[in-house]
Subunit: 427 residues, 2 copies
Amino acid sequence: MTITPIGLTDSGASTFGQYDPARVVASLRELASRTGGPEGSRRLCWTPDWLEARAFLRESLTTLPVEVDTDEAGNVWVYLRGASTDTIVVGSHLDSVPKGGWLDGALGVMAGVELLRSLAAEGTPPVTVALVDWADEEGARFGRSLFGSAAVVGSLDAVAAAELVDKEGNHLDQVVGEHGVDLTKIDGARTRLRDVKAYLEVHIEQGPVLEARGLGICTVTGTKGIERERVIFRGQAAHSGTMPMEMRRDSFLAASRFALALADIGRRHDGVTTVGHVQCWPGVVTAVPGETRVAMDMRHISHEALAQMFSEMRQAAADAAIAEGCTVDFEHIFRIPPMPFDPRLLAAARTSVREVEGHDVELPSGALHDASEMAREVPTVMIFSSSIAGLSHTKEEDTPDEHLHMAVDAFNRTVRRAIDLVVAGEL
Amino acid sequence: MTITPIGLTDSGASTFGQYDPARVVASLRELASRTGGPEGSRRLCWTPDWLEARAFLRESLTTLPVEVDTDEAGNVWVYLRGASTDTIVVGSHLDSVPKGGWLDGALGVMAGVELLRSLAAEGTPPVTVALVDWADEEGARFGRSLFGSAAVVGSLDAVAAAELVDKEGNHLDQVVGEHGVDLTKIDGARTRLRDVKAYLEVHIEQGPVLEARGLGICTVTGTKGIERERVIFRGQAAHSGTMPMEMRRDSFLAASRFALALADIGRRHDGVTTVGHVQCWPGVVTAVPGETRVAMDMRHISHEALAQMFSEMRQAAADAAIAEGCTVDFEHIFRIPPMPFDPRLLAAARTSVREVEGHDVELPSGALHDASEMAREVPTVMIFSSSIAGLSHTKEEDTPDEHLHMAVDAFNRTVRRAIDLVVAGEL
């Protein structure tokens, strides 16, 4: 069947004079000037600069017919009530890593403000549209990312979260408590999913693929699943000068073999694999390392491929250990399954991307997003803009203005199509 | 020519009732009980426990006709004056690493006490024999090993040493000042080399080779030269999830390739090579390491082989960097040339080892010793005892009593032969 989105002609030409991509970029620059500086963005969650960003969000909404409130997990919700209680949620996060970029998260929130503005200008929408500013997407302070979105879908372990401590020794439960979040009541945020039919998010790629292909935007097919393990090689610490090579059980050589084999596994399966942290013990140049701990991360968009990669990783670790006379143990760090996005919303996004940039390119997201959590419970899709040099989580993070314009344009078009799908009873 | 050492018959049978290896081991156990405990030895240099060990040394000398004094570098010298001012020096160090072993260094000092006792019992020796307890061989507190012996041979950089600081922020110059050592006057210790014709030291192997070969002792051919460098691989930090494998410049993969190639270099040249410390930046599991620093140590008894290994190491680092799209830089940490021991003293040691354990096995020392410094200026030799499991610098450090007995016996015999060589004008 053919769906004609509200405000789109059959040929796909835009009639939304109201949705102004340049206004999104202008508001992002103002946000950056208020909550960032020469060292990058300072919107670390649960800090005054983050509150300042949220104050800026509220100011941006003052002329709009919306209801704003905060849920039990600290997420801010902005409701533009429609003719139906059926709800489409758009959103992202205002919090950043320390010395972060100006676009990561903020793009999706400010694009959402512009969406609400344009919809409100057209009268009461057929369905309710909500913008959410998720709390602590980055997890930069306590190491628990996707805090607010996980709470809403019920995947946050509040007991484990309560025990998290930041570098200064502050406990997560106390810090969030100062922001009105009571971990024992956080499940109350789950009621926000009632009547929600779809979730849409626009975000920067945070990787180099679009730029390398000469593109500005693309449809995102889902977020990759992640397996994260600590791999511990144990051999025998020994004197660097007195232990002959042939008698050594060198745990770092085992770790080196493992790292190279792991990279091969990533390449062979068209996934990504990384050793990002390494620690040798005793860790001095005069000693053969008796123990080496590496932290390993692997990602794939396919369940089956990720499971196969994980199995090969364990075998590669065992082989590396044996080759150097060592043993190996594994400690679980983190796991999230692949989150493929909704086929109906993917079709809507593809059409929109084709209209805006004239191609059908789509990528899985290698980074997690709040969309990864929402996709557990709600039909979800994302749109990416390019990232210059693939950089993110740094003050150098940037995207050409025209790519930002295209991304929010395609996002707006996809939301309109999602509204039509809900109205048509197809979502 | 044939030399018949004093007190040895032509057949080599011992007639030294006076030299009692069991007394050496008994005194080592008493020292351990006074300056060690369940966690190991506590004789960290420039501390009260170290002073206690030195007090024990002085007590051990009270009945002997010796002169005891301390030089400008904090080394304690015990002189048994002979018929000639020509001097043979024996020695080692009472200081230990924190939680160290009971034998490392102390064996050579207490063997020296027993040597002086046995010589004195025989009357005035033909040459002067001096026992030295070197100050701060381990360098465990300030990172400058061989402090006292380097000062005596003039290879200590007093200006650089003055700037060293321990973990608590104490400056080396202040700490040694409290022990009567003035760094600006430390060159005065060099006069101790006057009239010195030979230096001999008995020490535990601190490695597993003798034990693996079923032996208790051996002649030591010299101390291996060392090259120690920091090797810095630089690629591009990137997101573990969003950077495709084929676009990465992963500095840790370069370091892994380097570590494996370095081990091959060590094996190929019959030397030892070690990566003992590794640090990745940013050092989190969510980031491809943009920079990886490794500390590399390589040792060989041959000048030429060590130079070849060093050259191959630099090429291996360059190759590893190129293979992963990285660059590599080198920072010098430490260098000491191989110190082959004196052929005449080696012949004396071989004869003694053959008499005691019936073989001609000899090994280079992979660890540095005060003998490495003395060998720069004076004909030098060492005798090793085995080390159980090759362990040292830990409370588990140990050696079978019979191997300790054989080691000090062979040491005593070698010193007697050295005395004869000096008397004969051959040293």
